[in-house]
């Protein structure tokens, strides 16, 4: 009888857990859907709230065109229609996966984004990954033994790097390695499109970005590990006779990595928005300069398309972060 009650209680608990998880999933789905709708609306509204006229921008500063021609252009770009009509047209285009046509780049936005994202992923993506691995590992080690001279020195170095503006760091590296030592080229993704040329051209910008990203990850991981290593589970693991390295990499790092997961999720958005200043220094044709130029030129379709891609990437990264949190921390899995 008692066994039967216990079984029922277990079943009830399981059901509660399942329904709790389902409820949580539905809630999250709604939250993400609402965020997406808000983002789409903001994507449309924000570029139009900026001062300036896309048509005048397209014409240029010293070209005289009649009002009739200006109106013709405005009509061609769909900017003469009431704002709600423009919005419904924008939503309609989105539903057809049409991101519009760039006023200044004379190409479909999807095509422009496809090309720029590819190179940006290669350039920023590699930097973020390298930065994450390097920063996490070194940060974990530095947090585990913060008192050693080497770790103090590394810590000072990373603090200095994280405080340095990436633009300055990029210029400094360019000056030393490209100008003084002549080891690397000054600009572009390549000179001729071969793997060797791409690697040669990308080495400096990727290194600069990776070092900058690593410095942030290092400092967060170091602080997190210092906090975690004083917890009881770490002492228990030591009491069981585990080696330092095993305690760090099997137990502590897992708990300490939660802030890093958050940071990586944030970096994911950064991944698609590019790294404007580094792109400017190395004259790279990435997402950063694309968005900057679109803002200057009031290229609404490019801005809408770019913001949409970035927003989707951030949403996706947040969803992944939620999942990874659940994997890394069982407490997150428990229904509230």
């Amino acid at each position: 009888m008692r066994r039967c009650e216990a079984g029922e209680a277990f079943e009830n608990n399981t059901l509660k857990t399942v329904s709790g998880t389902m409820r949580e999933a539905v809630k999250k789905t709604f939250r993400y859907a609402a965020s997406f709708l808000l983002i789409v609306t903001l994507n449309f509204a924000l570029p139009r709230l900026m001062p300036g006229d896309p048509v005048k921008n397209l014409i240029g500063e010293e070209v005289y065109v009649s009002e009739a021609v200006m109106e013709e252009l405005r009509a061609e770009m769909g900017l003469n229609r009431p704002i709600y009509e423009q919005f419904t047209a924008y939503i309609g285009d989105l539903l057809r996966f049409d991101l519009g046509y760039s006023y200044h780049l004379h190409s479909p936005v999807a095509e422009v984004l496809r090309e720029r994202i590819g190179w940006t992923l290669l350039f920023v993506g590699v930097s973020v990954l390298l930065g994450a691995v390097l920063g996490t590992l070194l940060g974990a080690y530095a947090g585990w033994k913060p008192e050693t001279k080497a770790n103090r020195l590394i810590c000072c170095g990373f603090i200095a790097l994280s405080c340095t503006p990436p633009y300055f760091l990029a210029l400094l590296c360019l000056d030393i390695f490209a100008f003084e030592l002549g080891l690397f080229p000054f600009k572009g993704f390549y000179d001729v499109p071969t793997p060797g040329s791409v690697i040669h051209h990308m080495f400096l910008p990727v290194t600069v970005m990776a070092v900058f990203s690593a410095s942030r990850n290092f400092l967060i991981m170091r602080g997190s590990v210092i906090q975690e290593k004083g917890q009881l589970y770490a002492t228990y693991a030591r009491a069981k006779g585990l080696y330092d390295i095993s305690i760090l990499f099997r137990h502590v790092i897992k708990n300490a990595s939660l802030p890093i997961i958050t940071l990586l999720a944030l970096d994911f958005g950064f991944l698609f928005s590019g790294a404007l200043f580094t792109e400017i220094v190395f004259s790279l044709n990435g997402m950063g300069t694309l968005i900057y130029d679109a803002i200057i030129g009031k290229d609404y379709p490019v801005l809408q398309g770019s913001f949409l891609v970035i927003a989707l990437a951030v949403l996706l990264a947040n969803m992944l972060a939620d999942l990874l949190y659940a994997v890394a921390d069982p407490r997150v899995r428990r229904p509230t």
Partner: protein
Amino acid sequence: MKQIKGFTGPELKKELKRWLIYSVLMTIFCSNICPAGAVGTEDSGENLSASNGGIFDRIITYIKSLLGEENVQSSENVSGASTAGMPSTAGMPQSAGSEGTVLKIATPNVIKSASFIGDSNLGVFAHLSNPPLMKMDSEGHLVGQLAESYNVSENNTCWTFYLRDDLYWSDGEPVTPEDVEFSIRYYGKKTPWASWINETLESSTVSGVNNSVTFKFNKPYTRVNLEFATYNILPAHIWKTIENPMEYTNNGPYVGCGPYYLKLIDLNAGKLVFEKNPYWKGKAPESETVEVHFYSSVDVATLALENGEVDTYYKYAGSYSYSGIEQLEKTGNFDFIEKTDIGLVFLAPNLKKAPLSDEDFRDALAYAINYEEIVNLETLGYGKVPNRGFVPPTMENFKETEKLEYNPEKAREILEKAGYSDSNGNGVLEGKDGKDIKLEILIRPDYARTGELLEEYFEQVGLDSDLRTADADTWFTLKDKYEYDLTVTRSTPWGMLMHASWGSGYFDSRRTGQGVMHNLDDPEFLQLCDDILATTDPEELDGYSSELQDYYAENLPAIPLYWNNVVTPYNRHFEGWYTDPLYGIYNLDTFLNLHEV
């Protein structure tokens, strides 16, 4: 004993092996993607590929090649070129290529799109491959380029251009008057900035006998020779198939009729490559290849120049950074061409609002400004104190007017005489309405320091002012609504030449445009503009230009702040540089005369 969750020793090794194999496979895959793109470029007959395709293109190309699809193009733009009728260079006699001299030009004028017609910066650089009919010589006179000569009817409605007969496109076809007629009509119909052609061109005829083309306009048009110094001539047999040239992007090659043709636009490498036109019959240029390298950062362009990566620096309507000149001089490898720019930086008053509508007030302001100091700070000495006549000395028909002078005492005196006094003794002059004068100075970000200096100068003569720095778009909006008292802005070479020339296009209230002030509706000035626009007679033009410069000097519709010099550094190994007021060193004379020493 409870086993620790995670990998045990053998499991870990197995996992590591798996990751190692995966990494090796990924490396092989990645290293194969790029050559996959490169194969296509060889197939297309080019050493330097049209490589604007992204990494996704490469992956798709790689997958296609794995699936066994033959003749995979590396870039869709290359294949786009052939479908759009652009002949490949495969059948063209090639120049020496890498064996010859390469002239490299650094520029901050970045090409954003591979649109030959749509990208304004590309339009300037393409003068080398598709030269316009006319050009400006070093003295600022308009002379023929593709045109041997030209004439205009007495009523200024009919313009006939006689073409040189030794011109050939880079695909071997001769350049015909039909090409010129097609190009001009094409621009008029297809581009918004040349819509004036569509609106005013009544008819056009070509004559094979004297190799000429005649354009008849529906009203007198006296600036056609100047306008036609900016439109690149296109091969009709290629472009007639392209319905929407603004939306047409292609990485090249483009058929050209200049001494070079545009072989490649590579946005990811940041360069344009021009190769010798094998059918060019004029004076042969020495450099086999001309490369234009664009840099997003002027600092990096400076480093590249200093390092010898490039031979010269070109910026349309701009100079090499004045602060970088000394450093470049130290290398001993560079010489400099220094010319006064025909564009200038000026202070524009709002003529529709008191007290700036008062001529005496403007006169007083002109004496309150320390021009020497501004010249020294803004141009580091590479500039001059301007004349009241606005127009810089390098412009055609320049007239020497009174030099602007810094004299705060005189400024105070003029203000007092004009009725601006400080009756309440608070140190600020009052306007004619009895209220303290507070001038709102609208500043574009490039001139923030000049604005601060002006604020100081005006304070010294008892005028309070408020600086308002605005981004470009806000500046355009406020300027067009006349919501300012004074604003600092600049004119470009083309801006000085547009409308009735000599800077009139900036002030004529009948005009619109982002950069123009349209703040002057004085009938005397408007009549002068109309007179200039109604004549092509050089003597009459000379007289009108003198009148216009006198008008500027007397009425000060704008106070020029400094005439700056355009400084162009060049590698001493090259000689034969030539500059014109409109496009600086970027002209055919430079490329044809340049030789290595």
